[in-house]
């Protein structure tokens, strides 16, 4: 006697289901399409998504710093030019030969009244116009434009002198017309910052990628010259200095962090004939008052784990270590101070698989990442770090399944660092709250 399962088998094994109408025609069409696709198919096609992602990463990685914000031009500050300067008058006179460079050596810092700014702006335009004229005059052999340069620079000098008279302080701190006024209030910067990260299942990938990823992305900041988190007293002192209150207290506070920095020597007035030497007699600017800080590409590495939740849904989590380095330069004394901040984050992301086969998964997802500051140092001294903070994540990616448990992935990710009082250190990601990164690595799949 047969059991019921055997009867089911007998009944279904030889059963011919009625074919839908037009199924043969559909089969022919699909067969032809599959044939043509097979002819074009190449293993190299699997590499294309990776190559595109890698190319994107390379473009971001090699991207040169663009025009600084607000469209202001960046002017290099060659040391040779500094050496020529002996006083402020000579700065202006030297400018007739190299007006742009001569103006650029003025380090800037002080907010100036709007009318003086306008006057200086007008002078800049005059210089630019006469420069163009000078170039043309060199070609035709006339010297008319030189007079224009002199008059324009006199205007600049007048603006600077006025500033000096009003503030009663050193004229070397007058505003350079080539550097934007950076003392204005900090604006919300929603520009997307590029970054490259490695989230690897093994240490090898991280070790290889690490040195590469520390390539500098020299970002010129247009805001805060003083990073937070280095001490309120020091910041207050710096603010006092910026605002013209160079009292003894402020001075001592400015000098307290670093013995190598002799601090400001106020009262040096080139108008009164005091000679200024770039190495000795120039007032030593307090820390941060020189060039804007440079924030390096963050370095990221970690472990990633994919946990299937449903047919097409996967929870991606793990550990995400990131290192943010920033450098601050003093001017004219060539000293560099580095801030290093390390974070440990736990990304929690839900990924939706758009397409999948044995070898390849294409997915998009979103989530958030709480992170804690592991340590923060400035000039190799520990400083207070950030507290717990959060980022929102959105990512898409392609994962090549090497084995059932292990996949190699390339994953562009957009993250937004939520503004928080807990985040007080200035790093790459506070400058670029919205950050685009391309991560690659090995992922363990459960």
């Amino acid at each position: 006697m047969k059991n019921w399962e055997d009867i089911v088998k007998d009944k279904l094994e030889g059963y011919e289901s009625p074919l839908p109408e037009g199924s043969l025609a559909e089969f022919r069409a699909r067969r032809d399409a599959a044939g043509s696709a097979a002819a074009k198919r190449s293993p190299l096609l699997w590499i294309v998504p990776t190559a595109v992602a890698a190319g994107l990463a390379a473009i971001l990685f090699l991207r040169q710093p663009g025009e600084p914000e607000n469209g202001a031009p960046t002017i290099q500050q060659p040391t040779t030019t500094v050496a020529v300067v002996t006083n402020s008058v000579e700065v202006v006179e030297t400018a007739s030969a190299q007006p742009l460079i001569a103006q650029a050596v003025v380090p800037k810092a002080i907010r100036q009244p709007a009318d003086q700014q306008q006057e200086a702006d007008a002078a800049i335009e005059a210089i630019e116009e006469t420069e163009a004229a000078t170039e043309s005059s060199e070609e035709i052999g006339t010297a008319q434009a030189t007079e224009g340069v002199d008059s324009a620079e006199q205007t600049v000098q007048t603006a600077q002198t006025t500033q000096t008279e009003q503030s009663g302080r050193t004229t070397i701190s007058t505003t350079s017309p080539f550097i934007p006024d950076v003392t204005t209030s900090r604006h919300v910067n929603m520009k997307v910052g590029p970054a490259v990260g490695v989230v690897a299942g093994g240490g090898l990938v991280a070790a290889v990628a690490g040195p590469v990823l520390t390539h500098i992305n020299d970002i010129r900041l247009s805001n805060a010259l003083v990073p937070q988190g280095v001490g309120d007293v020091r910041q207050a002192a710096h603010a006092d200095y910026i605002n013209g209150d160079v009292s003894n207290n402020a001075q001592s506070a400015l000098n307290s962090e670093d013995d190598t920095n002799p601090g400001l020597t106020p009262g040096t007035d080139p108008k009164q004939g005091t000679e200024i030497s770039p190495t000795a007699d120039l007032p030593e600017y307090p820390l941060y008052s020189g060039a804007p800080p440079s924030h390096y590409f963050p370095f990221r590495t970690g472990l990633s784990l994919g946990i299937p939740v449903a047919e097409r849904l996967k929870l991606t989590t793990g550990f995400d270590y990131s290192l943010y380095r920033s450098s601050y330069y003093t001017f004219p004394k060539a000293a560099k101070y580095t801030q290093r901040v390390q974070y440990l984050g736990i990304p929690l992301r839900l990924d939706w698989t758009l397409a999948s086969n044995r070898w390849l998964d294409v997915y998009i997802g979103g989530g958030f990442e709480p992170d804690v500051c592991l340590s923060a140092t400035y000039a190799d001294k520990r400083i207070d770090g950030d507290k717990l903070s959060f980022s929102l994540l959105a990512a898409g990616g392609v994962q090549f399944n090497i084995t059932k448990w292990l996949g190699l992935y390339v994953e562009p990710e957009l993250s937004w660092t939520a503004p928080s009082k807990n985040r007080k250190l200035e790093t790459y990601r506070t400058v670029y709250p919205v950050m685009f990164s391309v991560s690659t690595g090995l992922r363990f799949n459960l």
């Binding site: 006697m1 047969k2 059991n3 019921w4 399962e5 009867i7 089911v8 088998k9 009944k11 279904l12 094994e13 030889g14 059963y15 011919e16 289901s17 009625p18 074919l19 839908p20 199924s23 043969l24 559909e26 089969f27 022919r28 699909r30 067969r31 599959a34 097979a38 299937p308 939740v309 449903a310 047919e311 097409r312 999948s356 086969n357 044995r358 059932k404």
Partner: protein
């Protein structure tokens, strides 16, 4: 002409990309392959797509077919279709934990006579209504003749898991059969 071809000759012509031979292969086997795909799929459209994919795959790989007697060509195509169906199920598999706590099976087995009354279409419908894993294990074990060891390997589950899933699938099917028979008595 093509209708009279034996399996070996049909496979040879198909391997030469003879379009008419390929059409003949479709006419001969599509209906049976569709039945197989309906057993493994949740709905008719999915089954139809799977059937066509399986046959196209078979034509792509027809050079690898080796004649092993009458019926071997269908057996070879059937294996391709089953593998395709399993691949699809593995891709779409939802990892859910079954909350079916009652493991005791008190439902009496349907008799041979009762089973004969049930049309094939009904059986296919009930099998299609089983959850993915139960449907697959039932088909593989009860109809296609795979062992629990083979099922465990192919579906990447344990042998015990396969046996457990099969028990649940059988129980669910028996319930449907009994329910149908009761309705028929009225």
């Amino acid at each position: 002409m093509y209708r009279d071809l034996d399996e070996q000759e049909l496979a040879r012509l198909c391997s030469q990309r003879d379009r008419l031979a390929e059409d003949e292969l479709y006419r001969r086997y599509a209906a049976r392959v569709l039945t197989l795909c309906r057993r493994y799929s949740r709905d008719g459209d999915e089954a139809k797509d799977l059937m066509q994919d399986a046959l196209i795959r078979a034509l792509d790989k027809i050079q690898t077919y080796k004649y092993a007697g009458k019926g071997s060509l269908y057996g070879w195509i059937r294996r391709i279709a089953i593998n395709k169906a399993i691949d699809q199920i593995k891709r779409q598999r939802w990892r859910t934990v079954s909350l079916d706590l009652s493991s005791q099976d008190n439902i009496p087995e349907p008799t041979e006579q009762e089973m004969e009354e049930i049309p094939q279409e009904k059986l296919l419908e009930w099998i299609a209504q089983l959850p993915d894993m139960r449907r697959t294990v039932f088909n593989m074990y009860c109809i296609d003749g795979y062992s629990h060891k083979e099922i465990a390997t192919m579906l990447e589950i344990s042998e015990k898991g396969s046996a457990s899933v099969l028990t649940k699938a059988k129980k669910q099917l028996k319930e449907r059969i009994k329910q149908y028979l009761k309705e028929m008595e009225r």
